[in-house]
């Protein structure tokens, strides 16, 4: 069983184009997650009790479901509620919401990891609770948030592979189609693996650099 290099290079361009889609979906869902996460985290830290409970319930539900179910919900169930999105945008929405929930947990635990003393020092000086969190605690927490957040970005990229089930032409979908069309297996699988490894490896590298840079 030898490696078919000709096949390898014939299908590479299509997979590279698919990587573009993978990256687009991942970046867009990261943006959505970053917009949504602070709102979720801060409502849990500062909000009135009913808001806190609602947000917590929402977070627990999202965390308690496989991403495929959430993707399926966006693609199949939302249209029944009147929201019709293309596969790509369903993907962005689903991954964005999931990413937001995990990012919010990262933010919240980073702030809580600062310890009671910091909050008390700020309160004792006369800061209102919300100002203490925003102006004293959050800047400190940022350096604890960035590394795990870039790790979540890597997770978003891996989760984008699930969008193959709703026909988004990212790496896994294109690769899978190619395998079924051409019966070329190893070469295409290897390409898919390498592409993901490169993309995720780069993100992980950036994450480690950030970790080093911020802990200085």
């Amino acid at each position: 069983m030898s490696f078919d290099w000709a096949a390898f290079f014939e299908y590479l361009p299509r997979l590279i184009r698919a990587s573009g889609v993978t990256l687009q979906v991942s970046v867009l869902s990261l943006v959505l997650a970053c917009l949504l996460a602070p709102a979720l985290a801060l409502s849990r830290l500062l909000g009135p009790a009913p808001l806190r409970t609602t947000v917590q319930a929402f977070v627990e539900v999202i965390r308690g479901l496989p991403p495929l179910v959430i993707i399926a919900f966006c693609y199949f169930a939302l249209p029944k509620l009147g929201v019709v999105l293309s596969g790509f945008w369903c993907g962005v929405l689903a991954l964005g919401v999931v990413g937001a929930v995990y990012a919010a947990e990262i933010i919240r635990s980073a702030i809580e990891s600062l310890g009671k003393g910091q909050l008390e020092a700020a309160l004792a000086l006369g800061f209102a609770r919300w100002r203490a969190v925003l102006e004293i605690l959050l800047p400190q927490a940022l350096r604890r948030i960035l590394p795990p957040l870039t790790n979540e970005f890597a997770n978003l990229i891996k989760a984008s592979s699930l969008l193959s089930v709703i026909s988004v032409h990212e790496i896994s979908q294109v690769g899978q189609s190619l395998i079924f069309e051409t019966f070329v297996v190893i070469e295409i699988l290897v390409q898919m693996a390498i592409l993901y490894l490169i993309i995720i490896g780069t993100v992980t590298l950036i994450s480690r650099r950030l970790e080093k840079g911020l802990s200085a």
Partner: protein, 240 residues
């Protein structure tokens, strides 16, 4: 003239009663030291004064200060913590300047000037640009005192300010506190440092199981302790 009046303070944590009906008066410019065994309620008492703990019942009145606007109250009452609690990402100067700037509306220049004057006062003139990680424990605690003073409080609360310090750094912090008291600041200090109490306190209170069981000026407190539990406490603490 009375600055602070506390009556019938009760605070429970679950099944444990930390404050069991405490009454307290503090005069303007008075320096009060509170001591007692662990769990006697000393920390809880002063944390109730600036409402970091909310008493279950009882009243606390500080002359001239609102009792419902928590932020306004806390701006006029300074607190120094056992663990210093400096903001680790800010320099000494920034730690001191941040509250005056953000809460009192001082400009950056005014706040920095105030910070530097205070650093001078606590003998840390050259250290303005250092982060807490670059300061010794004693230096950090002095910065913490300066940070509290920057808000120009009418009352200063100290919660075991030297308990987390290496022995050789205790003196530098106590000296600052003595000087502060001599300058007329009203203070309540929870501490085990009996030497400081003897030197600098106008009155010393002894707490046991959530109540103040003895209160007297230093000479009487040490020479003729008015309560048996206090006798035992002093024996233990001064004996070794």
């Amino acid at each position: 003239m009375t600055l602070l009046t506390a009556r019938h303070l009760v605070k429970r944590f679950g099944g444990f009663t930390a404050l069991d009906g405490v009454d307290l008066d503090l005069g303007r410019g008075e320096r009060l030291v509170i001591c007692g065994p662990s769990g006697s309620g000393k920390s809880t008492l002063i944390r109730c004064i600036n409402r970091l703990e909310e008493p279950d019942s009882g009243t606390i009145t500080i002359a001239g200060l609102p009792s419902t606007d928590l932020q306004a109250l806390r701006r006029r009452v300074g607190m120094v913590f056992q663990q210093f609690n400096l903001f680790p990402n800010l320099t000494a100067r920034e730690n001191i300047a941040i509250a005056p700037r953000k809460l009192l509306g001082l400009s950056r220049a005014e706040a920095d000037a105030r910070a530097e004057a205070l650093l001078d006062r606590v003998q840390l003139a050259g250290h303005a640009d250092k982060l807490p990680s670059g300061l010794s424990g004693g230096q950090q605690q002095r910065v913490a005192i300066a940070r509290a003073l920057a808000m120009e409080p009418v009352l200063m609360l100290f919660d075991e300010p030297t308990s987390a310090l290496d022995p050789e750094m205790i003196r530098e912090v106590l000296d600052v506190m003595v000087e502060l008291g001599q300058g007329g600041m009203s203070m309540i200090v929870v501490t085990h440092e009996m030497g400081f109490a003897r030197r600098a306190a106008d009155r010393i209170g002894f707490m046991d199981q959530g109540r103040i069981v003895a209160m007297a000026p230093p000479q009487q407190f040490f020479d003729t302790p008015p309560h048996p539990r206090l006798v035992r406490f002093l024996d233990n603490i001064l004996g070794h």
